[in-house]
């Protein structure tokens, strides 16, 4: 990480203001104005549109193994995804990923 203290605090404050304005948007405008359907339809997909693209390179080329594909980390990623899909539980998925990661690292040396 290579940012000045000022840049980091600037980022924190800008993210805070931006996030607050998003949260305040419609509550802030008096009355119950409705968002157009096409906007709602796109907003519904924001988390699944950003996070998978962020995580894919991290799984394929993890920083912790110097950017080389790593079987233990791949197995952990697969276990997290499968348990998350099966249980719909974020915590169960994190636990499955952590156990698989440490288990695979132990077995593979």
């Amino acid at each position: 990480m290579n940012y000045s203290t000022l840049e980091i605090w600037g980022l924190i404050i800008a993210m805070g203001i931006g996030t607050f304005l998003i949260r305040f948007s419609f509550l802030g405008l008096i009355g119950a104005r409705k968002l157009p359907d096409w906007v709602l339809r796109h907003l519904r997909y924001t988390p699944v549109a950003v996070l998978p693209g962020l995580v894919a390179p991290l799984v394929l080329w993890p920083a912790g193994s110097g950017g080389a594909p790593d079987p233990a980390r791949m197995a952990a990623a697969a276990a997290t995804l499968l348990v998350g899909l099966a249980t719909k539980s974020t915590i169960a998925a994190i636990l499955a990923g952590a156990i698989t990661l440490y288990g695979a690292q132990y077995l593979l040396g």
Partner: protein, 235 residues
């Protein structure tokens, strides 16, 4: 009136309790990941208290470890939070009559958990007085937000003491995958996620984070179009 406010506050608090087991480890993880990435404890706490949005905080942190331009870190994190405009719009008919300062406080606490539970509660009983609705909403927030701050701090303090063998670099990807999997509710969500992955990998040569923003825009369009297509087929 006061009675219904008081009981609504406690009911919100009780309904929010199951989220404690999600929030506590997630907060610890952000604290650990933040200090591991090189933020000071004050900066980690700054994110947690000023932004109060786990997924966006992890997103910013990841892009910062890749030394992305600050404007790209900001834009990507805010895109992750755009869903909250939808929460704001859904809550406005129920809470929009509150005074300005109260709406500002409600907006600060307008997070996934308070929105989700309040929406269920207001759909169930839409005619309760404004004060009772606000009491329920704040009841949900009351334990969750302070625990989010407190356990981020615990993680930030503990983080610097954890050795590299624990492969904490992978805590962030695992957390993201664990957030994504339960969100893959429909074919439209699945196709949006796949689009995001394919486009992000194809554009990985662009400056850090830029490909991700393009991938996110493409994925949102694919999700929305798939939803439309499914609706038309059902009709």
């Amino acid at each position: 009136m006061t009675l219904s406010r008081k009981s609504n506050f406690w009911r919100g608090l009780r309904d929010g309790m199951p989220f404690v087991i999600v929030i506590v480890p997630f907060a610890v993880l952000f604290g650990v990941a933040g200090t591991e990435a090189g933020l000071s404890i004050a900066q980690v706490m700054g994110f947690t208290i000023v932004v109060v949005a786990g997924a966006a905080q992890f997103t910013a942190l990841q892009l910062m470890t890749e030394d992305a331009a600050t404007i790209i870190v900001l834009a990507t994190a805010l895109v992750v939070n755009l869903r909250m405009a939808m929460y704001s719009a859904a809550l406005a008919p129920h809470l929009g009559a509150a005074p300005f300062w109260q709406r500002a406080v409600l907006a600060y606490f307008n997070v996934d958990q308070t929105y989700t539970l309040s929406q269920i509660e207001f759909d169930r009983a839409p005619d309760q007085p404004l004060g009772a609705k606000i009491a329920y909403f704040m009841g949900v927030a009351a334990p969750l937000c302070p625990l989010w701050y407190l356990f981020t701090y615990v993680g930030a303090v503990a983080g610097s003491a954890i050795p590299p063998e624990f492969a904490l670099d992978f805590a962030v990807p695992i957390t993201f995958l664990a957030l994504i999997a339960p969100a893959l509710k429909t074919l439209a969500h699945v196709l949006a996620a796949l689009t995001s992955i394919v486009v992000a990998l194809a554009l990985v040569w662009l400056p850090s984070g830029l490909g991700l923003i393009i991938a996110a825009a493409a994925a949102m369009i694919v999700g929305a179009q798939t939803e439309l297509w499914l609706e038309r087929r059902r009709a």
